[in-house]
Structure formats: C-alpha cells, structure tokens
C-alpha cells in the first residue's frame, strides 16, 4: 500500500480543541477517537471557485437590504485575506452573518428577549479583490445571553466563512471587537489556548479608515491555511 501524503496539523494551541467541555455543546458533538491524518491529494488540494455570479452589488452592505436603515452604530469592517506566506488570496468568497444591534439574530431559533430590527437581516457576502482585500458595511452587533452556563453572554462578534484556493483552506471563524469586557468569560473565544492566536480574532479599531461623520472602521486580516505558491492544478493521470 502506498504511503499517503498527509497535511501537517496546526501548531499546538493555535486552533481550538474539538472537545472543550467549558463549551457545553462540544461535549457530545466532538470526536473522541483518534483522528486520521488528513490526506494531501487532488481531492483536498482543489476546491470550489465561486466568482462574481453569486455576489450582487449590495451584498457587502448589510445596512442597505431593507426599506429603512437599521438601528445601531454603523461600522466598516475591512481587511486582507492572506495565505501562510503572506500572499493575498484573490477572489476568495467571504460570507458574514451576525446579530443585530440589540443582540438578536434574525433566526427562528433565537428566542432572546430583544427586538428584531425590520431593517436588518445580518447577512452579507463578497469576493476579495486582486490584493486579497475585502470590505463591508454593517452595524455593530450586540452582546447576547446564551444557555451555556449561568449568566453566560457572548461577546459581540461577526461570523465569517471563507473559501480559499482549496478545501484545505476552508475556514469558519468569528471576529470580535477590541475592548469587549465579555471576552475573558467566553468559552468559545477561550477555546483557543494560544493567547496570540486567540487575540488575532479581535479586530483592530481603525480610525484612519473610518468615515468622518458616518461610520467607525475595524480592520481584521485573515490567514488561510496553505500557500498560493503551490498551484492547485490537475494532477496528470
């Protein structure tokens, strides 16, 4: 049997453990048996490419999807999507979703006693440009309670989903805001043991990129696994 080329796993502590009991939902849903090494074959090196067909002009403006403007602090979130070599990941699909300013999601399962905003769905998407750059407009999401433990509150966050050059680069994560007092108490945020890796999920306040008299800006760069220098071409058969 030929040896299977495998993918190097993440440096210790830089990714959350699958099983992290302080996050109660992980207890019964995370694998406990030994994981197999991830093969590195054409199946893993390749991945879907989405292109502009699925992104409409206003999909990166979460404040302009309804008749009126949503309640809340307007924000601009921007940054670059890079590979492990620091090269831009171009045309990466970036999908985002979030709670409204009151900390309520536009979702039937969310029963938090806070108002829905008829002018805010909380869903956006975009492609990175030739420099790996993305930018979207939204309102700052509120913190909200959840049932993980007594008096549990999620710090304000925006969910991100990204597709890079292959499925090895696939990433779903959350972006946090600087200075949020709830972060030290949040088991999801603290599931990342490495402090530097954890803190890289906190966006930076970016006064220079803010629009005077209009919106504050936060910057958030994202590093996807893999290297664009390794082309994902078809392997000859």
């Amino acid at each position: 049997m030929p040896t299977v080329p495998v993918v190097e796993t993440a440096a210790p502590g830089t990714q959350p453990d699958f099983h992290f009991p302080p996050y109660v939902s992980s207890i019964l849903r995370s694998p406990r048996k030994p994981l197999a090494m991830l093969p590195y074959t054409t199946s893993e090196r390749t991945g879907p490419v989405f292109g502009h067909g699925i992104v409409a002009a206003h999909d990166n403006d979460l404040t302009a999807q309804h008749a009126g403007e949503p309640i809340g602090e307007r924000i601009l979130v921007h940054g670059r999507v890079l590979d492990e070599d620091g090269h831009p990941v171009r045309s990466a699909l970036v999908e985002v979703w979030q709670a409204n300013a009151a900390g309520r999601y536009h979702h039937r399962v969310d029963q938090h006693h806070a108002p829905l905003d008829p002018n805010f769905t909380g869903c956006g998407r975009m492609l990175t440009d030739g420099n790996g750059y993305y930018r979207f407009k939204s309102i700052k999401p509120g913190a909200y309670p959840w049932k993980n433990h007594h008096n549990a509150w999620r710090p304000a966050h925006i969910h991100f989903s990204l597709f890079g050059a292959g499925i090895l680069s696939r990433l779903v994560t959350q972006m946090y805001f600087p200075g949020d007092p709830l972060q030290p108490f949040d088991p999801i945020f603290n599931s990342i043991a490495d402090e530097a890796a954890r803190n890289r999920l906190i966006s930076k306040f970016d006064l220079a990129a803010s629009e005077p008299d209009y919106a504050l800006a936060f910057s958030f760069d994202i590093v996807l696994r893999g290297s664009m220098d390794t082309p994902f071409e078809a392997v000859p058969r």
Binding site: Y23, S26, S30, P48, V109
Partner: protein, 184 residues
C-alpha cells in the same frame, strides 16, 4: 516566516442567516445519479438538527472542475454542494457518481466525496470522506486502506436498493460507530 492560520470558531446555531442561500442538494438542479441519505448523530445517537455539510467531489471522469468559470447566480459550482440537516438530523443529496481520482502519477483513488461537517458544538469543522460500497477500486484505495480496519466501514455508504444508486450513510460525531475524521 510563515503566518499562523487564523483560528477556527464554531459556525453556531444561526448559520442559516448567512449560509443558507447556497444550501441545496444538486438534486434540485436536475442532477441524476447516486442518492445518499443519512443523519448526523451525536454521542447519544441524538440527531443533530443544526449541522451543515459541504461536499466536494469529482465529475464522472474523475476531474475536479474547480468551478473555474465561477458559480452561476444560484451558487451552483460543479462538484460542490452545501446541505443543512433537518429537524431529525437528516440530510439527503444526489450527485453524479464521481469517477476515480488521481492519487499520484500512476495510481488512482476510488470514487469518493470529501465531506466537511459544521455545527454548533464544533469549534473546528470536521473533514471526512464517503466511499461507494460497490466500487471495486475501494480495495486498493490508499486513503481508505490507511484507516484501521475496525473503523474503515464508517467511511463506506451502505446500499439500500439493489441498483446501488440509493445509499445510506450516517455521520456519527462521537462514541459507538464514531465516523473517522481527519486531523487538520
């Protein structure tokens, strides 16, 4: 100096807000082929009604089209599908049977589907593979054969019709019959 990849966080219970627009079996696009039905189950064999699967598979000739021309307006990319589980943890999809995929310059992999699993409770997504039970190439597939024999069957769908075009495959996140997942 390599950059450290950004840490993963759970997709959470509300992913449909942002991700549902791409959800749907290729079946709904008139695809004919092999239908796979199954459920996502937790350690207590309770259904996971808020999971999302993403599939990546080769075309019948064994090539990943990679959507180089991009998705159409409905988000369809050849070889890719995103599927949310239902209230009973169930999912179903129909895909054209993938062909054998290159392993190296001389050898092939048996037809398979790369499957990523996202859910509340999963701080990182899971990666696994589904193989087809009636493929003779399974016996020589380097990845399948590298899995310990007592757990290999978790990657193999089960026939539920004589034609072999209707299959069952459950994803067990933990415990008895736990699916083999790959570390990343």
């Amino acid at each position: 100096m390599k950059l450290v990849p950004t840490a993963s966080q759970t997709v959470g219970p509300y992913f449909r807000i942002g991700l549902e627009y791409l959800c749907g079996s290729p079946e709904s696009n008139g695809t004919t082929g092999t239908t796979v039905r199954g459920r996502v189950l937790d350690a207590n064999r309770e259904p996971v009604p808020d999971a999302m699967l993403e599939l990546w598979y080769a075309d019948p000739q064994g090539h990943f089209v990679a959507g180089s021309q991009g998705a159409d307006r409905n988000g369809r990319v050849p070889g890719f599908a995103r599927i949310a589980t239902g209230d009973e943890g169930q999912f179903s999809f129909t895909v054209p049977r993938p062909g054998p995929v290159a392993f190296d310059k001389t050898r092939l992999q048996a037809p398979h589907i790369e499957v990523m699993v996202f859910a509340r409770g999963l701080l990182r997504h899971l990666i696994t593979r589904m193989y087809f039970p009636d493929e003779a190439a399974n016996i020589a597939d380097p990845v399948l054969q590298s899995i310990p024999g007592d757990r290999r069957a978790t990657l193999m769908a089960r026939r539920v019709s004589s034609s072999g075009e209707s299959l069952e495959w459950n994803i067990v996140l933990q415990g008895e019959g736990e699916t083999v997942f790959f570390a990343w």
